[in-house]
């Protein structure tokens, strides 16, 4: 197997890993801070992708620029969804919230199918096919941009979490909600903001995804296992290893596609997940969740 072939595979896995990590960051945030497994998270990403598509198709806005539209839009949508629906059940057991988010996911996917159409859409910017050849390896520039944006956004969120006041309040609430409240943090406002922020990142991820890939309402479902794998691999509530986890998943996928064929790709994501949970449930950096 020659080097350029391997390099191509590695590059492919690396670049998609950024997207996985970004969408998983929101998912991990909701799970870690709010203790909600948000099955509808992929839905926010899907809607972000559609915003980008519509902005490009109707208004001619560059897809990367449209993040400035999709992120705030999803922020608002996430805020509303949480405040008026999810918050009501936030104190109940896990099963209630999982079932509720499943219902929301159904509504989002079906709604998108009805109002936006079931066919695949794609955003063909003028620079869509641009690529550069480096040592025999074809480097798709659009995907590199996608990866770069994803990394920048992830870094921005990490900085937000550790350096700004609201971010630190969120982190504190994640560590110990009661203690945070004793320090003057308004837990309810934190919950609203965290969910909205996570939805915004999902929307941004959707926009980035739309630049390089075709999509349909079903990506909301398709992303679900990937989000789970990345979050579990990185360790719940842990930001540091998210990018690494995303890249690992990406590499596992492209690697397995090259070795045993593309039809196994979904099974590989899930198999990786099961293996991790059996062998090392705390992932790379999280706390152990054994009983």
């Amino acid at each position: 197997m020659d080097v350029t072939f391997v390099a191509q595979i590695v590059l492919g896995g690396l670049l998609i890993g950024g997207v996985y990590a970004l969408v998983a960051s929101g998912f991990s945030l909701i799970w870690g801070v709010l203790n909600i497994v948000n099955l509808a998270h992929g839905g926010f990403m899907m809607l972000g992708a559609y915003v980008t598509y519509l902005a490009f198709d109707r208004l001619g806005i560059d897809p990367f620029v449209s993040i400035a539209i999709s992120a705030p839009l999803m922020f608002a949508f996430g805020y509303i969804t949480y405040r008026f629906v999810l918050h009501l059940v936030s104190r109940r057991a896990t099963l209630s919230t999982v079932t509720l988010t499943y219902g929301l996911l159904l509504i989002m996917v079906n709604g998108a199918e009805i109002f936006l159409g079931t066919e695949s859409k794609s955003v063909q910017a003028s620079y869509a096919g641009a690529s550069v050849e480096v040592g025999g390896v074809l480097v798709p520039l659009v995907r590199v941009m996608m990866f770069a944006f994803a990394v920048v956004l992830l870094g921005a969120i990490a900085l937000f979490m550790s350096r700004t006041h609201p971010g630190r309040a969120i982190t504190a609430t994640r560590m110990d909600a009661t203690a945070a409240q004793l320090c003057g943090v308004n837990a309810d406002r934190i919950y609203f903001m965290t969910f909205a922020l996570a939805a915004a990142t999902a929307g941004a991820t959707g926009s980035l995804f739309a630049v390089a890939y075709a999509f349909s309402p079903h990506i909301a479902l398709w992303m679900l296992p990937k989000m789970f794998v990345v979050v579990v691999l990185a360790g719940l509530g842990n930001f540091r290893y998210l990018l690494a986890a995303g890249v690992i998943l990406g590499l596992a996928e492209t690697g397995s596609t090259a070795l045993i064929g593309g039809s196994f790709q979904v099974a590989v994501s899930y198999a990786v997940l099961v293996l991790i949970l059996m062998i090392r449930p705390q992932g790379l950096g999280g706390r152990a969740f054994l009983k």
């Binding site: 629906v85 009501l88 059940v89 099963l95 999982v98 996917v109 099961v274």
Partner: protein, 356 residues
């Protein structure tokens, strides 16, 4: 039987008469694990079963087929409820057991040329084996078990999809067709499914009102304390998972033979797993009848919705699920000790649900 006590009468004895010497009120018979047969429920149940038995002769084929599907999901939900409702381990991948049961039966009938009932047993055993392989996962906390069970179901489907000619891959497997006319076949499976449902209900009842059942509830409420109290939590959870898998696999085998054709996307679908969970949840977790009631309601409503809304059926179902979660924190069938009191404050209290 009186536990030998010291000279003076003591409350700490199993002899009611002795306790009465100390405190008259304590003479009431102690709560025992002796099963008190709920005669009213048995009577009503017998009535319902008799009514159901008449259905194939008076109702249309459509109704008979619908009821077979409803009963199938009800049995699955009863099986799920053993680890989901009673032990507190809510699996989102019970479709895996159903699918393995279906495929096990199918492969036994086509490749091994076995008749139906032995094949069904093989299918059920195969699912139990899967549960055994999954058992290390029960070490993990609630959230993780949900995720892993879901993952196992997906992996199972993908493995079957890529299993080549052994599993029929994406083409599915065609089973030998059951003998008789369409109506006779439907009637045959109707009674089989009905029998399975009654067996699962009776089985659940017996299981719950036994020491094993108490152990399960203890594990759900507080596993650490249960462990400290001397319950062999690992073994109890394992047995519960195996039983649950078997109860979910049996309808799978029946389904395979009834439909004469199964495919991976059909039997391993997330829809199946989630229907079971949502149905059991709507009916009331931790109750004997809850899963059956909830699944029946969910499926019949779903059928109506699909009939009227077609493309929007998923969305409407989603809306119904959201409303159900918001309004029915405990489900429909009340647990022991609770009830549907009509006092407004009690109703609001019930609707608000317990704090986590």
């Amino acid at each position: 039987m009186a536990v030998p006590s010291s000279n003076s009468p003591s409350l700490l004895t199993t002899d009611a008469a002795e306790r009465a010497e100390v405190l008259p009120e304590a003479a009431r018979p102690e709560v025992s694990l002796r099963r008190r047969i709920p005669w009213r429920v048995v009577l009503v149940g017998a009535l319902v079963v008799t009514l159901m038995a008449v259905v194939p002769f008076v109702a249309t084929e459509y109704v008979v087929r619908l009821l077979i599907v409803v009963m199938m999901f009800a049995v699955m939900a009863q099986g799920w409820s053993i680890i989901g409702g009673y032990a507190g381990y809510q699996s989102f991948g019970h479709g895996a057991f159903f699918g393995v049961g279906a495929y096990g039966t199918a492969i036994a009938m086509t490749t091994l040329h076995l008749p139906f009932f032995p094949a069904l047993i093989i299918g059920t055993l195969a699912a139990t084996l899967l549960a055994l392989l999954m058992s290390p996962v029960m070490r993990l906390q609630g959230h993780y078990f949900v995720v892993v069970s879901f993952a196992v179901s997906e992996v199972a489907r993908e493995l079957v999809l890529n299993g080549g000619s052994f599993t029929g891959a994406s083409h599915g497997i065609s089973l030998p067709i059951a003998p008789g006319t369409q109506a006779e076949v439907n009637t045959f499976f109707f009674y089989l499914m009905l029998g399975l449902l009654v067996a699962s209900l009776v089985g659940t009842y017996l299981l719950v009102h036994s020491t094993f059942g108490y152990a399960l509830v203890a594990i759900r409420e507080n596993e650490a304390t249960a462990e400290e109290s001397g319950i062999a939590t690992v073994r109890v959870k394992l047995i519960a998972l195996l039983l649950s898998a078997a109860m979910t696999a049996a309808p799978g085998g029946l389904y395979a033979y009834w439909m004469s054709f199964i495919s991976p996307g059909d039997v391993f679908s997330l829809f199946r797993s989630v229907t079971v969970v949502v149905g059991a949840w709507i009916g009331g977790l931790g109750t004997v009848l809850g899963p059956t009631v909830g699944t029946a309601i969910l499926l019949i409503v779903g059928e109506e919705v699909w009939g009227r809304f077609r493309e929007a059926s998923d969305g409407v179902l989603g809306i119904l699920v959201v409303i159900a979660v918001l309004l029915l924190p405990r489900g429909i069938v009340p647990r022991q000790g609770e009830g549907w009191r009509l006092h407004p404050r009690a109703l609001i209290h019930r609707l608000k649900g317990p704090r986590r």
